[in-house]
């Protein structure tokens, strides 16, 4: 990782993953433990980020929140990526009417502003984590599909593809063994930005009350609770927001760094 920002991104993401995995050991308190005598308490020695409306420790909730954010993020990006790449590969490689259908479908999906789509679907569903994942996947795959399709269309004209075909390789083999690995770079870069985006959208949905169920420690929901009590206890909103910002920044930095890394490698002639 060359750039400073890239390195910072790696550090942040690594910290995030560690926090998510080791949350029970790191978090000082049970995120669901209520203690009304501590309602709205400001930052203190035992509760560095203060307590929320029910007296729960905010720091612990933020730490457990990494699980929510990361979990949802990885699920969504994972599913979207796999689905999108498959579709894109097939469409780009085959061309013809398959491709045209894909373009049409993709256009339909893109005719809707992304967040609005998420809100629209969430409006009709009960808040739940799995619903959030589903909602975000519905539109998520399109980006990867388009990306991969574009690349496939370019790369399929290259010599190594014709060579493989000449050697009698099956289409699927061509796709998976030859084409795809060369697209991995941009796909990974996109995935990193995609994660940032998913975390942002999930937080936004939870902020609106349409995302995770009540009481799940999602950072967006925590901010929302804070806005109710802005006059009384601003710290309820401040810390979760910082967490979101940090995490999204981390993935953005990471994506930037990866892009610098991978594209320059490509330029240096690796294929």
């Amino acid at each position: 990782m060359k750039t400073v920002t890239g390195k910072i991104g790696v550090a942040i993401v690594a910290a995030l993953v560690l926090a998510a995995i080791f949350a029970p050991s790191i978090a000082p308190c049970d995120p669901a433990a209520q203690d009304f005598s501590l309602s709205f308490a400001g930052p203190s020695m035992s509760h560095p980020f203060g307590n929320d409306a029910d007296g729960r420790d905010i720091l612990s909730r933020i730490i457990y929140g990494t699980r929510i954010s990361l979990g949802i993020g990885i699920s969504v990006v994972g599913i979207s990526l796999v689905a999108g790449c498959l579709v894109g590969l097939v469409a780009g490689y085959s061309g013809g009417w398959i491709d045209r259908i894909f373009v049409f479908v993709a256009d339909v999906f893109l005719s809707f502003p992304g967040f609005l789509f998420a809100v629209a679907v969430a409006a009709f569903l009960r808040p739940s984590i799995s619903n959030v994942v589903i909602i975000l996947c519905i539109k998520g795959w399109v980006t990867y599909a388009r990306l991969v399709r574009g690349q496939a269309m370019v790369l399929k004209e290259r010599e190594f593809v014709s060579a493989a075909r000449a050697m009698g390789a099956r289409t699927s083999r061509v796709l998976l063994r030859h084409l795809f690995p060369n697209m991995l770079g941009p796909v990974i870069v996109n995935a990193s930005f995609g994660l940032a985006g998913v975390i942002m959208v999930e937080s936004a949905l939870s902020f609106l009350g349409l995302g995770v169920p009540v009481d799940v420690p999602s950072w967006g929901a925590m901010i929302e609770q804070g806005t109710q009590y802005l006059l009384l206890a601003p710290h309820l909103s401040i810390f979760p927001g910082l967490a979101i910002m940090l995490v999204v920044l981390g993935f953005n930095f990471l994506g930037d760094g990866l892009r610098d890394e991978l594209t320059s490698t490509a330029h240096r002639g690796g294929a």
């Binding site: 920002t5 502003p113 609005l116 936004a204 909103s237 979101i244 953005n252």
Partner: protein
């Protein structure tokens, strides 16, 4: 030119149709019976049947779809379940607020982004450029539903300069517009910078410099104009995301626009109104895209549709 506009308008129609269909499918593919969701499980059978009939749910899907499209085009978008007034009346009452907010936010975004982008491009590679780049990345990462409350805290609660929320005076517009436009400004500044750098690297710029034109003239009169083209396109495309982002901003600031209307009706399970709001925003998005295309074509006739 007129030809192009017409062509573009015609192209927009199927997209709008697709959007409307999508919304229709949404409502009809929710798991569970919508009547159940609205009335609750313990509603009496009589009530359920009435509501079912009212919403037309007892007819076959195609017939409902037909009625839906017919209603859309004839201006009957249904009635709100909450107060029985036509959906379009509600929308009309709230549309103005959202338009004002979106326009101001766009203005804010552009006013920040373009100078910043140009500045950074001109000082490419320098410390200020790098700082600006980092700043813009940070700007993209700031969630606007966090920025809003923070701004409220600082400017409305602590300093007391501006109103907390609601739409009461011109001052009420400042914080919401800034919140909404901020993320966009970060993104636009990066784009402007990239586009500007591109332009500055072109041949004609070197020529102009060689001709002895002042640096300022080179930048402003020539490179800048050309660099604007892709920026304009993106600006147009991003209006859509502004409209969607308005949902959050209006919620934070209690701004009485379509976003607020949408959230209120979602909470009240007022499905006809939810549907109407979604449609209106989606249609606006399509229209703005079409308009942007036309503007782009106007500005840069080299573009072919």
């Amino acid at each position: 030119m007129l030809n192009y506009v017409l062509k573009r308008a015609l192209m927009a129609l199927p997209v709008m149709l697709a959007a409307a269909t999508l919304v229709f499918l949404l409502i009809h593919s929710i798991p569970g019976d919508p009547v159940d969701l609205i009335l609750g499980e313990q509603a009496m059978q009589v009530d359920r049947e009435e509501l079912s009939q009212e919403l037309g749910l007892d007819r076959p899907l195609f017939s409902q779809y037909g009625a839906f499209l017919a209603g859309l085009s004839s201006g009957d978008w249904g009635r709100s379940l909450f107060d029985n007034r036509p959906v379009l009346s509600h929308i009309r009452e709230h549309a103005g607020a959202t338009i004002v907010l979106a326009v101001c936010a766009m203005f804010v975004a552009v006013a920040i982004a373009i100078p910043a982008g140009v500045f950074a491009a001109v000082r490419k590679g320098g410390f200020l450029d790098q700082a600006a780049m980092v700043a813009s990345l940070v700007g993209i990462s700031v969630p606007n539903f966090w920025l809003g409350p923070v701004l409220i805290l600082v400017f409305a609660v602590e300093l007391g300069w501006l109103p907390i929320s609601g739409r009461e005076s011109w001052a009420s517009l400042i914080l919401p517009a800034f919140t909404l436009g901020f993320g966009l400004s970060a993104m636009l500044s990066r784009l402007t910078r990239a586009s500007m750098i591109d332009e500055l690297g072109r041949g004609y710029v070197t020529t102009a410099r060689a001709k002895g034109l002042s640096e300022r003239a080179v930048i402003l009169k020539h490179a800048f104009r050309n660099a604007l083209n892709p920026v304009i396109t993106i600006v147009g495309l991003e209006v859509g995301s502004l409209l969607a982002g308005a949902i959050i901003t209006e919620r934070i600031f209690n701004w009485p626009g379509i976003g607020s209307l949408l959230m209120d009706s979602i909470n009240r399970r007022d499905y006809p109104l939810v549907q109407g709001c979604i449609l209106v925003i989606a249609f606006a998005y399509v229209v703005v895209n079409a308009v942007t295309d036309c503007v782009y074509r106007f500005v840069d006739p080299r573009v072919k549709i």
